[in-house]
Symmetry: C2
C-alpha cells in the first residue's frame, strides 16, 4: 500500500459523534506540546477542572477528564465502585445499558436488569420495583441519553429513588453533557461519565467524569484493589488531585487537553442554558422537516433527545445507499442504526458546533434530494419549508 | 479563577517525554475531524497498521494503536494474557517493572520477581535461573528501555530464554520504539507495547501495541473473560481488524491518529536504522559534554539508552533549582529523577524530533551557564567543545 500524507475530506458531521470540531478547538489542539508536569500545564489542568464543574453543574472536587474515550470513562466508574459480589441494578434501553452489564460482570458484580424497549426512556416505576425487590442492591446504573436510540431518561427521578434505597448511581451522560439539561449536584448523581466528541464538539479521545463524596467514600473503602491500574482513582487523583504537588501517574494527552479546555471555554461563553435551548430549538425544526420526508422519530414526545434524532428509514429505501450518497455527494455524515436498529433507522446528530441552522437546512435539503432521486413522493423544498415555517 | 484561552509557552522538551512535536505532526493533528467509521478513516487505519509494522519490524497482523496512553497499552497486554492463577516472571530494574507487578496482581496472577539494581540492565542469568526454578511460569515480562533509569536490556536474549521455557514475553518498548534497535519478529517478542510521545515525537495519548500469533492463541483460549471491556482484544480487533467490515467498539481518537500516522510516515522517510544511528551519535556527543560538567551517567557503558540519559546530580547542587532555572530562563525542560532517583538524578531526553545537534548544543550551554552560576568549577564553553570536538 502506498503511504502518503493524509488529507481528510471536509465532512459535515451529523451522526452520533464525533460532531464538527470548530476551528478554534482545532487551533488550540495544535499548539506546541509542553510537559505533563510543566507548571503551566498544571495551571491548565486546574482551569479544566473548574470549567468542567460548570459543564456538569457540580462542585465535586473529583471532576476531571479520563485520558481515554467514553468507554474508559464508563469503566472508571464501574471498576472503582463495583466490588466482587456487589449487586447492581442496570437499566437497559439500548446498546450502552448492555455495555454497563458487561462492565458489572467483568468487575465480579451481580447485575439485576431493568429492561425497556429500544427507543423508550427507562421506566422509573420498574426501577422502583427493582429497588424494592433487591434491598441489598448497592448501585443503580443507567444511561441518561441513549446514543443508540436518541431516548432521554429522567435522571433526576431515578437518582432520587436510588438515594431513598441507599444506592449510589452510575450515570452515562456521554451524549447529554452540554446539549441537554444535566445538573449533577441538584439531581444527586454520584458517578457520572461523558464524552468530548458529542455536544462539546471537541475531538474524540478523552472522557470527562465526576464523582460525589458518597461515591468516593465507597471507592476509598474497598476491600480489594481496583482491577485496573490505569483507571484506579486512588492513583489517578495523585496527578489530577487538588494539592499543589502532582505525582506522575501516566502521561496526560497534553494536546487533547488544550482542545478540551477550549471547548469548555466556548460552552461557558455561550452559557449552558443557552446551549441547551439552541439544541432544543433546532431539533424541533429538524424534526418538522424530517416528518415531511416521511421519516418517523423513534422515541415518543417527551422522551426525545434534541441532539440525537433517531428516525425510521421509510419502507423500500436502502440504508447504506442513502448514507453512501450523502457522504459521496454532499460530504455529509449521518449515523447508521446500532444494534436492534441496524439497517432500520438513521441517527441524525445535532451536536455542539454542528448544531446550527445552516446544518439543519443542509441536512434536510441533501436528504430530500437523495430520497426524491430514489423515488420518494416528496415535493422539492418541502422539508426546509416545514422546518423554517 | 479567571479562565481564558491557553497559549502554552514554547518549550524545548528534553525530558523523558513528551518530546518536541514537529510542526508537520501538529499540522496533521489539527486537520478536520471525520467519523471513526468513515471509509477514508478506515483507509488511514490500514496505513497506520502497515507503518507501525515497519516501526516494530513485525508482520504481526494484530499491530495497532490502543486509544489511550502507554499505561493502557501495558494493561492491554496483561489483562488479555494473564489469567487468574498464571505465574508470571517479572523483571524489575526501575519504576516500570514495578508497574508490571501491579498489573500481574490485579489480573489475579502470581508474580515471581527478578530484581536488578536501578540503572542496570536486567541480568539475563537471573532470568534463566528464575525460569529454571519455575517450570510452571507462563509469561516473562520485562522492560526493554527503562524510562526511569535510562537502562536498556537485552530483549533478544531474554525472549530467547523465554521461548526455550515455553513462556510468552510481554515487553515494554515505550522509550525504545524508533530510537533504539528493536526487532519484534527477529527477536521473537510476543506482546509489545509502546508510547507515541518518546522517539516517535508524536503527541501523548495513544499506545502502539503488537501481538504475535502465539500471544493471540493464549488470549483467544482464555477460560475467563478479559476483566477490561475497553481493552479486550476480542472486541477491539472487531474495529481494528483486518476484514473490510469494521464493527464499532469505541470512538477512536481520530485527530490523534492523524498525528500518529504523520509521525510514522516521518520515521519511514528517515529510515529506522538511520533514526537509531542519529540517536546513538548525538547521545555520544551529549554524554561527552555532560561529563565535562561533572555529571556521571548512571547505567554502565553497554547498558545505556541513547535517547534517555540519566545522570547523577553533582554534590551540593539542588535539583529543583536547576530544573526551575532551565525552564524559566531557557524554556528548556529536562526530567526529574523518578522513584529511587528522585532529587538525585536528572533524565535528559534526546528523543525523536528533539534529538538534534542544535538541541544537544542548547542543552549543554544552558546547563553549563546555570551550573556555573551556582558555583560549579567549569570553564565556559567547555561542554560544547567536548561534545563537538
Amino acid at each position: 500500500m502506498a503511504q502518503g500524507q493524509f488529507i481528510p475530506p471536509k465532512r459535515t458531521l451529523m451522526g452520533p459523534g464525533p460532531s464538527d470540531v470548530s476551528q478554534r478547538v482545532l487551533d488550540a489542539l495544535s499548539r506546541p506540546t509542553i510537559g505533563h508536569l510543566d507548571p503551566e500545564f498544571i495551571r491548565l489542568m486546574d482551569e479544566i477542572k473548574e470549567l468542567l464543574q460548570y459543564a456538569f453543574q457540580t462542585e465535586n472536587a473529583l471532576t476531571m477528564p479520563v485520558s481515554a474515550p467514553g468507554s474508559a470513562g464508563m469503566e472508571t466508574c464501574f471498576v472503582n465502585l463495583v466490588e466482587p459480589g456487589d449487586k447492581v441494578i442496570v437499566c437497559r434501553n439500548g446498546v450502552f445499558g448492555g455495555r454497563m452489564l458487561e462492565n458489572v460482570e467483568r468487575c465480579g458484580g451481580t447485575a439485576v436488569m431493568v429492561d425497556d424497549a429500544w427507543g423508550r426512556a427507562v421506566d422509573v416505576e420498574k426501577v422502583k420495583a427493582a429497588l424494592e425487590a433487591n434491598p441489598d442492591a448497592k448501585i443503580v446504573a443507567f444511561v441518561h441519553a441513549e446514543t443508540s436510540t436518541g431516548a432521554v431518561s429522567d435522571a433526576k427521578a431515578i437518582a432520587e429513588l436510588a438515594r431513598q434505597h441507599d444506592c449510589l448511581t452510575i450515570v452515562d451522560t456521554v451524549t447529554s453533557l452540554g446539549g441537554s439539561e444535566l445538573r449533577v449536584d441538584d439531581w444527586g448523581l454520584d458517578a457520572v461519565y461523558s464524552g468530548t466528541q458529542k455536544c462539546l464538539s471537541c475531538i474524540p479521545g478523552i472522557s470527562p467524569v465526576t464523582f460525589s463524596e458518597r461515591a468516593l467514600e465507597k471507592a476509598n473503602n474497598r476491600g480489594s484493589k481496583v482491577q485496573s491500574w490505569f483507571l484506579d482513582l486512588n492513583l489517578v487523583t495523585a496527578y489530577w488531585g487538588t494539592g499543589a504537588k502532582r505525582a506522575y501517574h501516566h502521561t496526560a494527552p497534553v494536546n487533547d487537553l488544550y482542545a478540551f479546555h477550549e471547548s469548555l471555554l466556548m460552552l461557558k461563553e455561550e452559557g449552558l442554558e443557552n446551549s441547551w435551548a439552541r439544541h432544543q430549538s433546532l431539533h424541533e425544526k429538524l424534526i418538522a422537516g424530517l416528518t415531511v420526508l416521511g421519516l418517523t422519530v423513534v422515541p415518543p414526545e417527551g422522551e426525545r433527545l434534541a441532539q440525537l434524532n433517531t428516525v425510521m428509514i421509510p419502507e423500500g429505501i436502502d440504508d447504506a445507499t442513502v448514507r453512501g450518497r450523502l457522504l459521496a455527494d454532499y460530504n455529509l455524515e449521518i449515523g447508521a442504526g446500532l444494534g436492534d436498529f441496524a439497517g432500520k433507522a438513521w441517527r441524525i446528530g445535532l451536536m455542539g458546533s454542528a448544531c446550527t441552522e445552516d446544518n439543519v437546512r443542509f441536512c434536510l435539503e441533501s436528504l430530500e434530494t437523495v430520497l426524491i432521486d430514489l423515488g420518494a413522493d416528496v415535493e422539492k423544498g418541502a422539508a426546509v419549508t416545514a422546518a423554517f415555517a
